[in-house]
């Protein structure tokens, strides 16, 4: 026990003595949190729209105005030349082209169906998909207005059956503020990555300098060494979570509906697994450079497959299974659920149990892989 205490004391002392370390642990994560949270939103605004109006009618102009009255579309071209309209899509001036056919107004007034054409640039999948969806809802709303107006004029029974209206209510994020949604997830990623890298680099650095050899000729036990490396970085991770949450509250006013104790408790079990990954990396690397590249490899996979940007549910099944041993995926989900939705232990217990199995498993692997002898 005394040995573990002295190792923790030594590790924390070294962190405090290292001049570069204090800003790395405090300022940099906050800067990242702010930058990423403002930039990484799922919202798509200012979609460039070219309108090819072959009808030149009141209705066609109303349709155009309907599009432009929302924040989502910006008119790039208004023409009756279909080729010119398509060209704007090709040379990237517009993201979508709306083609209004001749006789659009007439057909509607007679109660006949009419069709509009929408061409969308889908190179950016998210933007393309959302442009289509927004356009659909704009057209729907015009149709609803028109169906009410046309009926009395033509004195017919409504040709179109009263449309089923769908109203949206966004739960847990009513104002659709994406920063609110992104901050907890990004914070989870930052804490995980930072501590994982620190652990991996720290052990490899001792190997490079040669101090680890001095420890290896002492009667220190492997588990003492591993715990002595693990706990200091666990403290640092919790500390960073605390300042990150404070910054999130002060800057973005993120909701904290659930219990903060639960967040921190999950952070502990999650970090044990994360730090074990860092240790495993260090057992595979001879130099800090190697450790850096291996960490980078895991980092990319962990982040991109964490559900931070794209929902895990929409990944192929095999990829969904791959997210099970990914600590970041669990952390992001728990942070969002507890903070934004107010989930309790029961709602996140699967994540909890997964981590409780994964953590000790990875730690045992790290202890087994760590050698007091040289190859």
């Amino acid at each position: 026990m005394r040995i573990i205490f002295i190792l923790i004391w030594k590790e924390l002392l070294q962190v405090v003595r290292n001049r570069a370390m204090i800003p790395i642990l405090t300022v940099i994560p906050i800067v990242q949190l702010i930058l990423l949270s403002f930039a990484a939103t799922n919202e798509v605004k200012k979609i460039g729209l070219a309108v090819c109006d072959n009808d030149h009618s009141t209705f066609s102009r109303r349709l155009r105005e309907q599009f432009l009255s929302s924040d989502y579309f910006v008119l790039k071209l208004y023409t009756d030349d279909e080729k010119a309209a398509s060209a704007t899509l090709e040379d990237d001036q517009a993201d979508a082209v709306l083609v209004i056919p001749p006789g659009f107004e007439r057909q509607l007034l007679r109660g006949q169906p009419s069709s509009l054409q929408l061409q969308v640039n889908a190179i950016n999948g998210v933007k393309g998909g959302l442009a289509g969806a927004y356009a659909g809802s704009v057209i729907q709303s015009l149709r609803r207005d028109l169906s009410l107006e046309i009926v009395p004029v033509v004195r017919q029974k409504p040709a179109v059956a009263a449309p089923i209206s769908v109203s949206y209510r966004h739960w847990y994020n009513p104002e659709l503020e994406y920063q609110t949604f992104m901050v907890p997830g990004i914070l989870g990623v930052l804490v995980t990555i930072l501590t994982m890298m620190l652990t991996a680099m720290n052990i490899v650095r001792e190997r490079e300098i040669g101090t680890i050899e001095q420890l290896n000729v002492t009667p220190i036990r492997k588990y003492q060494f591993i715990i002595g490396k693990l706990l200091p970085f666990l403290f640092i991770g919790l500390f960073d979570l605390a300042i990150g949450l404070t910054a999130g509250k002060l800057i973005f006013d993120i909701p904290m509906l659930g219990s903060l104790w639960l967040v921190f408790a999950f952070c502990v079990v999650n970090l044990i697994a994360t730090l074990a990954v860092g240790m495993l990396i260090s057992t595979a690397a001879e130099t800090q450079q190697q450790a850096m590249f291996i960490s980078w490899f895991f980092m990319m996979i962990f982040i991109l497959m964490s559900g931070l940007f794209t929902p895990i549910d929409s990944m192929p099944l095999w990829a969904q299974y791959l997210t099970i041993p990914n600590p970041i995926a669990h952390f992001v989900d728990v942070m969002r659920k507890v903070l934004l939705k107010g989930s309790g232990f029961d709602d996140i217990k699967d994540h909890f149990y997964t981590m409780l199995i994964l953590g000790p498993l990875l730690i045992s692997l790290a202890i087994w892989r760590y050698r007091k002898t040289i190859a």
Partner: protein
């Protein structure tokens, strides 16, 4: 000197793939002896020492250190030996006192023992004023003396020194050897590798390794007689030449 071997090596061998770094060496080291382990760069000194300190598992042969087998009880050996590596390996960002406390605790000394040791050690090395300085700021010679003293902090039976005086000025080297003599006088067995042939004259017995084998092992005096040489330097050159010619 009573016959009481504390290091016994028999046919000790280490191979790295096809390369044999240490080729079936056999020797014994007596308690309280200063045993010089000489050899050119790459002759296998460090490898041999790492096997005896439990840092490296031998390929074949037998060895026991302080009565413990290197294969079965490497961790037991570590309790009873001190080790100072070629590279300076105390924590440079910790102070003199903190390093003493760290290693003292790891070796299981009580708080009180550490306090006493710290006081003695600082006085002996004349480092009392530097106790709160980070080790990285000390001159190399002082660092080496400190590393040696910390290697002895748990009063081990044997201390292994891997080129302890590399890059150190002659005056400090002399002081360093005084520390070694003092330790040997107190009954500590000293196993030391070195490049400096004048230092080998200070050893009780010397072994010279060439290409993984022990080419000669005797007292410096006897070695000079056998090889008709005036100095250990000459002995070393003669030995290295004959083997490289054969």
């Amino acid at each position: 000197m009573t016959h009481e071997p504390v290091i016994i090596a028999r046919q000790l061998t280490k191979r790295f793939g096809p390369f044999t770094a240490v080729d079936a060496i056999s020797f014994e080291v007596e308690k309280g002896e200063i045993f010089g382990f000489l050899g050119a760069n790459g002759a296998g000194k460090t490898t041999a020492m790492r096997m005896l300190t439990g840092l490296l598992t031998p390929t074949s042969g037998q060895a026991s250190v302080a009565g413990f087998d290197v294969f079965r009880s490497a961790e037991q050996i570590k309790r009873h030996i001190g080790y100072m590596s070629q590279r300076f390996s105390l924590y440079e960002d910790l102070t003199v006192k903190e390093n003493i406390r760290l290693f003292g605790t790891i070796y299981g000394l009580t708080q009180r023992q550490i306090g006493d040791k710290t006081f003695q050690l600082l006085r002996k090395l004349g480092l009392s004023d530097e106790a709160k300085q980070q080790v990285g700021a000390l001159p190399l010679g002082w660092k080496q003396k400190l590393a040696f003293s910390i290697a002895l902090i748990h009063e081990p039976k044997i201390v292994f020194l891997d080129e302890p005086t590399g890059g150190v000025d002659p005056v400090t080297r002399r002081q360093f050897w005084e520390l070694i003599y003092q330790a040997a006088h107190e009954g500590v067995t000293v196993f030391v590798t070195t490049h400096y042939m004048d230092e080998s004259e200070y050893c009780h017995r010397v072994s010279i390794m060439v290409d993984g084998r022990i080419a000669a092992l005797d007292t410096p005096r006897q070695l000079k007689l056998t090889y008709e040489a005036d100095s250990m330097d000459e002995v070393f050159v003669k030995l290295a030449r004959t083997t490289s010619l054969s």
